[in-house]
Point group: C2
């Protein structure tokens, strides 16, 4: 398992366009990356310009493959015009414990 929490900040006034790009990215990951066991994109309810990804990969290979996909290249190319990249944070996490139930997938 390989877990990441990634944060992006949308530039003022770019919310709609950013959300389109984010939704395309998650659709591409769902369609093409079986090793991405969870790939969830959220907005902060209190700060809607804050985007929070929770990403769970089967292993390091799946995580590395994610970074090398064509859709990641396309997503990365779209970021500078829509996000304040000085605010980007990527945090690698080690699992202490917990559960994901089958019903989380539905």
């Amino acid at each position: 398992m390989n877990t990441i929490v990634a944060r992006l900040k949308i530039q003022d006034g770019k919310e709609d366009e950013a959300l389109q790009v984010l939704k395309k990215m998650v659709a591409d990951v769902e369609a093409n990356e079986p090793g991405a066991l969870a790939y969830l994109c959220h907005r902060s309810i209190d700060n809607p310009s804050e985007i929070v990804f929770f990403e769970l990969y089967a292993d390091d290979d799946a995580s590395k493959a994610h970074r090398g996909t064509p859709h990641m290249a396309e997503f990365a190319a779209a970021l500078p015009a829509l996000f304040d990249l000085s605010q980007t944070k990527i945090e690698r996490l080690e699992r202490v414990g917990g559960v994901v139930r089958d019903s989380a997938a539905t």
Copy 2:
């Protein structure tokens, strides 16, 4: 769906005891809260005193029930001696999109 990312900072020298308390908490949630669809506790790899929970509840009732459980009361009582509560952050998230695969549960 109701998603939370919660962060706790372990006090210096309290890592082992804090991890025991965290592991008991996640076991209690797994055993008693079917509405907690995902309840994952992590340490930051770069800052191991940083604890990051990713929590996914079926709905607001499941989230509210979580906060009212006996194991939450026990966990909350243990926190002040082990964590720097001035650093606690709880962030409520709205899903933009994404996937959790069945295989994430295994």
